[in-house]
Amino acid sequence: MGSPTAGLAARTDARHTMIELTHVSQHYVDNQGALTHAVRDVSLQIASGEIFGIIGRSGAGKSTLVRSLNLLHRPSSGTVHVAGRELTALSPDALREARHEIGMIFQHFNLLSSRTVYGNVALPLELAGQSRTQIREAVEPLLELVGLAAQRDRYPSQLSGGQKQRVGIARALASRPKVLLSDEATSALDPETTRAILDLLRKINRELGLTIVLITHQMQVVKQICDRVAVMDAGRVIELGSVLDVFRTPQHDVTRALIGDVIAHELPSGILERLRKQELGAARLLRLAFTGDEVDRPLLSEAVRRFDLDFSILHGQVDEVQGQPFGSLTILTRASPATIAEASAFLAEHGVSTEDLTAQLLPAPSGSSSGASAPHLTLLRGDAVPLATEALNRVA
């Protein structure tokens, strides 16, 4: 786990734990009789009011893991606590009762085709044995909340994908849950609808204080609304931390590859190849990561003036993660180790982390094993000359 930003840590600590998984494993015997481990020894805590993402490729075990949160899949071992109750220890009746506190939405919506929008949202309340009046009083505001009041008497087949998911969300909220589980809820939607549904989820999270656990294979989703994220691979959680930290300092190739879908984090392999062929001598390859307010400040030019730093920009990007600006810049510099150390210290003081990537300049092991760290092959036109510093110095 990376070091969470101070603000987030304080916020998380101030809240109580809503969900706690302890050593959860899930294995089953498949059709061929082979033992398959879908989830391996996962322990994690999710705070109340948090939007927690679980990301991984298909088959990573995230779908099984999210179903262990409401015991649709009972773990083979380990315990699951939700809202202060140990679900794994409950009787079938008590478990059904506890499930009223955990709403769930699905990739394919899972709406009843035989019921109207209103009837679908009313279903969980009917199941709980509420009266017609109680149901009406609960359903109508929910339809307003998700913006479907006008469609209340339509059948799901008459709705668009985004509208269907809105019905799914309203239905999941009907029993006033404390937790909302989202199983790839936006994976069947187009990008624009995805954004609208995620905005709705965030609104619900803020207005109702709902804890949301969403699984996805789209880093874009995590980037847009999650507070923290767990990265899963082969049934294990291989990385867990605040979204900002995971984006800033991904620890695993899997994570880097997933992040690469939304932010070009790695130096394109073409550039790397080219650098490897050059006589670089003592040059260092550094990646500077900016977050928050530093993005706007002229820290770099300040460092350049102060330490007489000379460098060339190889690669860079500024994006937004969790509503915070987030950027990285990969530079090549021939400055002395002492100057670099001084400059890094200065930058670190202002919240810019420096990562030394010089090792990447060593010839790659034979074959095309640059692999996950450099998925894109592009050609660098022109030499990596320190034009950037020259320009900065001229202005200065």
Binding site: N70, L72, R96, H108, S114, L123
Partner: protein, 217 residues
Amino acid sequence: MSPELLALFWDSFLETLAMVGTAGLVGALVGIPLGVALHVTDEQGILPHPWLSRTLGIVINAVRSTPFIILLVAVIPLTRVLAGSSIGTAAAIVPLTIAAAPFIARLVETALREVDRGLVEAAQAMGATNLQIVTKILLPEALPGIVAAFTVTLVSLVGYSAMAGAIGGGGLGDLGIRYGYQRFLPEVMLLVVLVLIAFVQIVQSAGDRLVRKLSHR
């Protein structure tokens, strides 16, 4: 056609209606729960019970593979207990029902299998009991399929009821055999066939219309 023959024709038509209607209704009352049982006790069902599922399946297949004319006489002891007699229209209804129930059960099972598993999962996530899953999810969602199954069953029963004459059950089929065939009255035979065709058409198109009305997929 003489007025006597016409009166006989009308009576026979009512006998057919009684046999098909009663056997269809009672068959559905038995067959729908059987179909639900088959579906929920399946390995992939909400109440897996492979042993029970397999036994039910074998019994249902056994009844369905027995030719109706044999079933008709094979169940005579049971018919006597239930209908008080082994001959007549009431007596014919017993074997017709026994033939209809497993037929409906299989068709209902197929209709239930068409219900997306995700809906069951969603209901479980909402804390639904197994009974609620059956009554609030499976049956309503499969209703168009169940109505279609019932329609097919009624049409099949019209055919089966023609054999009821073998135990004195009467009906249009019996009339056709006794008067049209054995007494060489081709116009009776023709009328029987035409009325049955019209009857089946009406049942089928009413069923289709109801299915369309119920289906919102």
